[in-house]
Amino acid sequence: MAILMLLEAISLSHRYADGSLGLDGCSLAIRRGSRNALLGANGSGKTTLLMHCNGLLQPSAGSLRFAGAPLDMSRAGLAALRRRVGLVFQNPDRQLFSASVVEDVSFGPLNLGLDEATVRGRVDEALAAVGMAEHANRPVHHLSFGQKKRVCIAGVLAMQPDVLLLDEPMAGLDAAMQHELLAVLDRLAGQGITIVLSTHDVDFAYRWADDIHLLAAGRCLAAFAAAELPAQAAALKQAGQPLPAVVALQGALAARGIAAGAPARSLDALLAQLSLEEAR
């Protein structure tokens, strides 16, 4: 079991310079190749935790392990870590600081010290992976919000990480853009990249994740396979999260003997189940 864990946090605490506690004894384990949602309200410590995983913040107490070994906080150790664990921030305008798409995506691989031909290849690959190949030479400030977000992801992918951390990737995206971004994430997960994203949307976490890690007040209250979420009502309540709408609905319907099959994890799935029953 233990060797499967790619990333582990062990009672991690972090106190910010202003004295506030960002994390307070948070423990968590990420399986290699899994899709993880860190679920919590604003201020529950999601971003702080992600920044620890990438070595951008150092724990005040507790420790982190990557691929079984404790994090090496030396300059070289951090560089190696950041190559393998990529972090995509919430606000693309802060992450895209270069003039053109290509220039921005090449920032990471150039910092790895790769030669120009390799970098060029990786940039093309990364842009293709997020479906932005045809926008390669456009200036960043002409892109839509959703496109910027995908360029941010490409900028991290170009470093070929094992783990992709995303802070609130769905925030600010309209329905169509969310759909596109999900397709990108599904493709990456299919390639074996471990994905950890933070969200405050329980419906989304339930629909998308393999594992859900429930955060509140700087602690991980519970971690469970997404399929087991309906049994976690108490923990969800403690974290200030409602039960996903689909769980409540299916519960109400099951009471009347409708849609009493396998738990649906999205309203679409529930609808599909309903129309299937109808057809029978």
């Binding site: 270069s98 003039a99 053109s100 200036p139 400030h141």
Partner: protein
């Protein structure tokens, strides 16, 4: 390098304030006239002042390995013109005194003179001169930022030497002394700042 609160004798403090005042009045007058034609400039200069303040708090990776802070004097003068930089620089220096205790109120006149008047005018003048002589943009920007920086520090050294002449060698020896202290720390910084400003202008022209 800001001269700290209370450091200058009273006659020097008043003298430098009087020397800076007409430039400040001129700058305010010119900005006011500009605002009548382009009201959106009001926000621009305010935001630029905030930019300059934040820039001066950034740590610059210096060639010698020590960390220092860019002044933004050259960049500001190139982007907004030296005359607008007087009120902007005045506000930035006032804020540095009030928010960071860098510099002070009694030394504000002297600091404004070196950093918001001499620096920007030298930088801008060199840039214009260089362009007229047909030098490349990068060379002109580097010279403007680097020498604008050095002119600022030379002015500060003169201000200090004038206020505190050497007991043996007088003004000249004192200038050598303060200039020497500054030369060690400020020449690498000026070079870093010149390089940084070239990078910035290069990037800006591509946006």
């Amino acid at each position: 390098m800001h001269i700290m609160e209370g450091f200058l004798p009273v006659d020097h403090a008043i003298g430098w304030s009087l020397a800076s005042a007409p430039f400040l009045a001129w700058g305010v007058h010119s900005v006011r006239r500009q605002l009548q034609a382009q009201p959106e400039q009001r926000m621009l200069l305010g935001v630029a002042a905030a930019f300059a303040f934040v820039l001066s708090a950034l740590k610059l990776p210096s060639v010698t390995g020590s960390c220092s802070h860019p002044t933004g004097v050259g960049l500001g003068a190139l982007l907004f013109g030296p005359l607008a930089m007087v009120p902007v620089g005045f506000v930035v220096l006032l804020f540095q005194a009030l928010l960071l205790a860098h510099g002070g109120l009694t030394t504000l006149g002297a600091n404004v003179f070196s950093m918001a008047i001499v620096g920007p005018f030298v930088a801008f003048g060199l840039f214009r001169l260089g362009r007229r002589c047909g030098l490349s943009l990068a060379v002109c920007v580097f010279a403007a930022a680097c020498l604008g920086d050095l002119a600022t520090y030379l002015t500060t050294a003169i201000q200090l030497a004038w206020a505190f002449p050497d007991p043996a060698g007088g003004f000249a020896a004192s200038l050598l002394k303060f200039g020497g202290i500054f030369a060690i720390t400020q020449i690498p910084l000026a070079i870093s700042e010149g390089l940084l400003t070239v990078l910035v202008v290069n990037t800006l022209t591509r946006f």
